[in-house]
């Protein structure tokens, strides 16, 4: 198998922002334990629609954990609209590359963040 970059291994060995946010502004679970990937993302959003905090829990391989960790770093401090536009390529590029067979993991991480943002937007609509 093609090697993981040092950045991927670093984010895998020392993932940033793991955990939960109680009463999160938005949260969502994506993936499928059958495939071996499951991610739950929690976001905390302030009154200016800026993401103050992101936390995640991930069941998955090295790439799954690394991409989850990386995307939280990319998302914190952005507005929800900006964060919604983070692509899997952005994540893979920040990690200085992913083996082709692992690209679906970065896809899942950006899906997870978007799902959490959509949950936030739905909650906003309801209030």
């Amino acid at each position: 198998m093609e090697e993981y970059t040092d950045k991927v291994l670093d984010h895998f060995a020392h993932p940033r922002n793991t955990g939960v946010i109680e009463d999160a502004s938005g949260e969502a679970t994506v993936g499928n334990p059958t495939c071996g990937d499951l991610m739950t993302f929690y976001i905390d959003v302030d009154d200016n629609d800026v993401i103050r905090d992101v936390k995640f829990k991930t069941f998955g391989c090295g790439a799954a954990i690394a991409t989850s960790s990386m995307i939280t770093e990319l998302a914190i401090g952005k507005t929800v609209d900006e964060a919604y536009n983070i692509t899997r390529k952005d994540v893979a590029d920040e990690l200085e590359g992913l083996p082709p067979i692992k690209m679906h993991c970065s896809n899942l991480a950006s899906d997870a963040l978007r799902a959490a943002i959509e949950d936030y937007r739905k909650k906003q609509d309801n209030t």
């Binding site: 895998f12 069941f59 998955g60 391989c61 799902a115």
Partner: protein, 401 residues
Amino acid sequence: MVYMDNSATSPVDSEVFEEMKPFFVENFGNASTLYEIGRVSQRAVAKARQQVADLINADTREIIFTSGGSESDNFAIKGIALRERSKHPEKNHIITSQIEHPAVLETCRYLEKWGFEVTYLPVGPTGLVDPEDLENAIKDETFLVTIMHANNEIGTIEPIEKLGEIAHKHNVLFHTDAVQSAGKVPIDVKKQNIDLLSISSHKLYGPKGVGALYIRKGVKIDPLIHGGGQERKLRAGTENVAGIVGFGKACEIAQRDMEKNTAKLTEIRDAIIKRVLDEVPESYVNGDLEHRLANNVHLRFSGIEGESLLLRLDAKGIQVATGSACSSQKLEPSHVLTAIGLEPALAHGSLRLSLGVENSIDDVDYVVDSIKEVVDGLRKMSPLWDYTNQKYIEINKEDVY
């Protein structure tokens, strides 16, 4: 470094390496040539052939050298199938098991494209083939049964003597892939009703790139590799003398040390299993606990995934394997774990430690402590693990986006 992936490959024994050295630069002769250095090679090959034969109580003439386990499996199955097709075309049925090594399974699938019919016998929850299933599967068209002696993933040892007996009762040939068992478990091809048997050198502390197929005297087989007539015209190609010499020596050492190694590895294996099952919640052993290779520890842990387990252990200097989907090229969980009935989500959290002679009982505490630490760390950030209550969380499909 603690290396516990001997089922993948093992280091070459230093005695073996010494034995091989003269055959690269000084005694480089082609074993088929008539002059002095050719004869030296020929004698060395003959000696190695006897050493391999002795390991399984075969006659020296029944051993054909190959490039390894995969070639031996291909040779056995295709060689018998093609022979059979030319003599008795109505006999087109092969029986194997669902947990064979891909070298057997892919060969069978390939033969299906050529009009052969293959039955893949199921296994029980610990990986055992039920002899009665074999009895029921055999029909008039059956000409070959191929069932592995010991499984490379979960370590289960199959009842091959009984399976061979059943095959012979119906005049069907019996092949066994003994790649993981040769040198570890006593094998007697005469007593155990075996007609063909595959061995691989690099699984028993010999060099890579060499193996053997045992073919019982009287069994007719078509060669896979045609050419210059080596190996009694059954397997062409200039002999890999250095490799063969190493392989033979490795077999001799394995035979000599089998009892001692088995005792030591069993002790280490059982110590690891006991501590893990006692100390790690929701940890399980895959494979049969009684009929099991002395060096195989196959565990699974709920709520976490195997590749991440493997990488974190690697960071601690511990080298092992996993059957998770993410770690394979196909992104599917191991077919063996699927065959024993594990749900994919549970199959993903599997870990295989295959011990070797370089391991010692002193490794146990470091390895188990590391496993505990890594499992705990991964469970802390898993959405499938309730860390407070230390148990698995079932996810409802509706909760997933």
